[in-house]
Symmetry: C2
């Protein structure tokens, strides 16, 4: 899948509040989510895992008690593609 150009990345990010770009290489996008506690954080991880399996696209997931940080990029393409933003939108919807 083709890497997105700068303009496309900026446009996609503008439509995804909370997600930020992590400069690369590889370019990635990341979002930090805060929950009421550890069980709620783990429940979110399981919802994200189900979406990731469905999409066959898997964010890195970092859990620190009541916080979960997701990091997305397209390993095969070495940066950001439409798949990353599609999954970010699904996770947030």
């Amino acid at each position: 899948m083709a890497l997105l150009d700068e303009t496309s990345i900026e446009r996609e990010l503008a439509a995804l509040p909370g997600w930020r770009r992590e400069p690369g290489p590889p370019d990635r996008i990341a979002r930090l989510y805060a929950f009421a506690g550890f069980p709620a954080a783990i429940a979110f991880v399981n919802r994200v895992a189900a979406l990731a399996e469905e999409a066959d696209h898997h964010p890195d997931i970092h859990v620190s008690y009541d916080k979960v940080r997701l990091v997305l990029w397209s390993h095969d393409s070495g940066g950001l593609t439409a798949r990353d933003f599609r999954l970010a939108r699904r996770i947030d919807s």
Copy 2:
């Protein structure tokens, strides 16, 4: 809970193959686990989460596709205590 001294940390680590010390501050211990795929990694996260809730002690959990990295330390004490090694042993048993 009291921070462990160097001798105790070395002795505890010697009994926990795969766990390594992460120099601090704060001192932490970490282990990387590899699985057959993403679903197996997430299943492990859920088993760890159940043990963490039981112990009321929560490792940082980092998932990268088929790998899970756990990082343990005692936030309240600012380093390594008996609780960290107790939970590491439970996770590995």
